[in-house]
Subunit: 337 residues, 4 copies
């Protein structure tokens, strides 16, 4: 941590900063430049941030040097954190494909979808039973009935199930049915939900928040790991920008960044990431080429009758076709699909 | 609602859109231009959005015309929604000032703060007992013990109490102690929390999300009102942009916009809105001049020892001084403080 | 400047950084922490940035400490830089009001506008003779003929004239007619234009770019000052964000920030800053309360017939009315108008 | 174009809108809903926007339906606009690779780079002779001397040359030496420069502005085409967002969007798009997989000694290595490199 003093800071103010640092056990390096004084503090960042140094008189800014997360760090675990999902591995050579509708709407819809995405090569079935919606008047999901339909689809096809949990209280219920517990973008910093998931026994798929920096995203993963659940899968799903042609701007550079900073696997959701069906195939290819460990794609037997997100859902036929293309791209970067 | 067809859309595709609209009871106006067909649909927007028209073949885009919120609308209630707080009125002529530390840290800290902000003219005491923190290793609040300290401070000073609730389950507990229940920016779209608050008997202070549009913010208010709690106070606290000199960019234009679209009172939090202490006084003045119904200001007896947000907190002396200045600005726009 | 090394940086890499720093005359402070090495370099930032340290092996990041601008700095000139405009002072007690249409359209339009804004108390007449337009098919301005009309209006009313210059080549022409040379937001980093203006004898009004940080804005001012023209007036006009209710998000916190970092006067353009007429009055008040040294407001005798920006222009009557309100707000912060 | 009236708009106001539309030759469709009136206007968007309808009383908003650009449109030219560059084709099956340093620094540097990037398979040599720099104190380029060095490198290697032009006046000079004239991100809306380039005989490489929407980017291309120069190559180079791990956020979804809306070729610059060397290889792969027609990559023999942008430049060895990888990805999407 570097403490930069104001150009006009007085000796008394510099001393106050240093005495506080010493009091909390920090090592100190003082550097008195011509125009200003800079203090280097050696010690734990977490503790450092709680010292309130920025609020002291004469301090211009405090620049953190070390990272605020620990367990999530590549330094904490050099090799990739590979997550086992009923025998399949997320974070290994194979790119995991999660496909299915935005929301569970009926048993027929889910069975048809499950069988066809399975046949096309998907590994995991997605479908929301609890739906966080911008409007209180919109369809909010089939809740437990939806979870039961998902479980039936798993039984029939062998696909694993990923579904969203939106409330700390529902974690035990969803954990009973799902193989992967999804945290939606709007809940990325719902810290009570993260703490509850930190005690869960199932892997957590953590979507990046709409306006979350990569550091905040990794801090949210740290919440889950800090409680003992080390099975965290990150999911890039676009960030909010000024561009209006797409629902969000898919930030594919986050993939190599996350892989450098952290040992966690990262997948990409180009359906939410763009919000536009015709962009999904090229963004799937780009995600694989960029190094993603998996994809999450919205697929619906009748997108025009979907209860939500129809405009960004592929038809079953479209999904089958792009899977062929994706296999070739995966091979070109030494991955399988 | 306007449905814009692709330039090359076929008659069959246009018919499919119209038949679906008629099926759901919409009135239709067809407009066949030289280069493309546009369909106007007259009816309820909420229902319209669930028709999945954007996912139909040949549809380029769907442009909503009417607003997605109802109860929140200025059309629903022409006069301002004035909220009573132990006899004080939020949304009337008087500008309500809420002041206090980021977090409740001890009884001494709160009592000292409460008495001095009361003396300076504040109406409401703020202080967090449950703290949503980016890092799992940071101070998370004194919880119920903190609520008890707040209640004591109210007893002694007569100030009303506003404090954050971060979890649907804690709503009954917080409601027992607080006069106003605060929803933090990171929870603005925590829909389960909003639904729980829609059943509460106390006013809700709803902070704007970091990357929430004004429409999404009003939709979150609609959640609370749709369950029967009409006492919603909006709070602008800055949005996330590319600028790094401030923690957020305070969007003061949201004040007149909200006042035009809605009947709800709106206050401003320049402490979080800027994250920098020396910017707070001028942003308080600007907020009042722009028409805000209140202010929420972080004040701490020793900002440099604050458990959180010290750099943006005013000292008690600074707070006292700016209150004098604010009274003059308020008078210049025919308000009191 | 602080050079933060990678956690695994080798001694050889640290030595390479230090030897390069020494070679260019920098003082060095070495700080070897448990997990990483940090090097403090004392010397000129401008030179430091050209050393290419970030590209050296083992360097994680380079954190600048001192500011990249010099002449613009508050440290360079402690007192406010007050600019004289035909006897009026920008940056002093009086708030300067610049008003007029987006574009010069005809002599009648400008004369009518000039006389009425003068009567209402404006100090400067604005009007574009060269218009930078997003579309090549839109009205591009009356060019020199427009400048002549502006000069006539000055002659008749005594108002000073501010008008935009969009091209390095036109600087001498515009300087012949105008009292203040305006740089539009899209040209804030048109460095050849800035260099040409650095040799001009007239004050320059420098609008903040749509996505310019405050630091980049001040660097653009530094360009003008570095060539010898010290008469720079900054103009906040909103930045691009995700919000769609307004054309831009007016960043009023930039006013106190600029005033702390720099000695330059800063004015606000709420017409472009919001793009919506009914938001202009409250944003004018807020700008004054926040400490702005002036306002630039679009006013048109018939906004619905304006060649550009009609929706954000006030009528002459509306302008007259708000001037009364603004005088009261100005007085409440010890300014005149 | 759709004109949405206020809920409370009066008949007189609706009539005023319609009479103005009729006066300018527009076809009209009137739709009177329960809560508001909507008017559809059929005719030319360019003309429509200059009617000032948004400024009329009673008008809530004007929604454009048709696109504001014409020549750039896919509808204007169904097949891809393939640009010939000394016999090579941009926009065809082959992905064009442009490589070289940020700035021309010396003859030795350029010759070494040119020969090695040629050997690795690059088609075009990049290098700036005129450098737009944020700071007036930074290296501004070798100007004409730099252009001469570029021409020598072309002579020796047969590589085509792309270099930036920053000023309308310098277009003839740069055109004399370069094969492709580059417009930098900061100049994307320097309309005088665009108009000058619209008369040039050489292809123009148009970088997307830092905060430009895709529509604005295409409008800038329309400027160049409207003057008669149809040889425009678009270049995505990242947009400004809140994320700080990268210099910009590379928006790869712009590739399939541009290819749908327009017939112009589009290439990607991942060096500026990320600003971080270790992200360049994965973003090159992703760009190709997403459908880009080319890449522009910064390569420098000694990045740590580069006059600018060293941290994002690849070494010659790194460039050679990634070219091998890129060939495989290109083949997987049926392209060559």
């Amino acid at each position: 941590m570097i403490i930069v003093m104001d150009p006009g800071a007085q000796k008394k103010q510099v001393d106050e900063v240093m005495s506080r640092l010493k009091q909390f056990g920090f090592g100190i390096h003082l550097s008195e430049g011509e125009s200003r004084t800079v203090i280097g503090a050696i010690g734990d960042r977490t503790k450092a941030l709680s010292l309130g140094l920025e609020a002291l008189e004469g301090v211009e800014k405090v620049v953190p040097i070390s990272k605020p997360y620990k367990l999530v760090c590549r330094e904490f675990k050099q090799e990739n954190n590979i997550i086992d999902l009923n025998g399949a591995k997320i974070g290994g050579e194979k790119i995991m494909v999660m496909a299915g509708p935005c929301a569970v709407e009926s048993e027929e819809q889910m069975m048809e979808t499950a069988e066809m995405v399975k046949a096309a090569g998907a590994d995991v079935l997605r479908g929301g039973a609890f739906k966080p919606r911008t409007s209180p008047y919109a369809f909010q999901g089939m809740e437990e009935e939806g979870l039961k339909i998902l479980a039936k689809a798993r039984e029939k096809t062998g696909l694993s199930i990923v579904t969203e949990v939106v409330n700390p209280q529902s974690v035990p219920l969803v954990e009973q049915y799902a193989d992967v517990l999804q945290v939606g973008a709007r809940n990325m910093q719902n810290f009570h939900l993260l703490l509850e998931l930190s005690k869960a026994k199932k892997p957590v798929l953590l979507k990046r928040g709409l306006s979350a920096t990569i550091e905040e995203w990794l801090m949210a993963a740290e919440y889950i790991m800090s409680g003992g659940n080390y099975q965290v899968i990150l999911c890039e799903r676009g960030i909010r920008t000024f561009e209006t042609q797409t629902r969000n701007t898919l930030d594919l550079s986050s993939i190599p960044i996350v892989k450098q900073l952290s040992h966690l696997p990262v997948i990409v959701d180009p359906s939410h990431g763009t919000g536009v069906r015709h962009l999904v195939p090229s963004m799937c290819k780009a995600a694989i080429a960029a190094g993603a460990d998996g994809l999450m794609v919205e697929v619906h037997p009748n997108p025009e009758k979907a209860f939500c997100d129809g405009p960004q859902s592929l038809t079953l036929l479209q999904f089958k076709e792009i899977m062929e293309d994706l296999r070739r791209v995966a091979a070109s970067v030494d991955r399988t699909l």
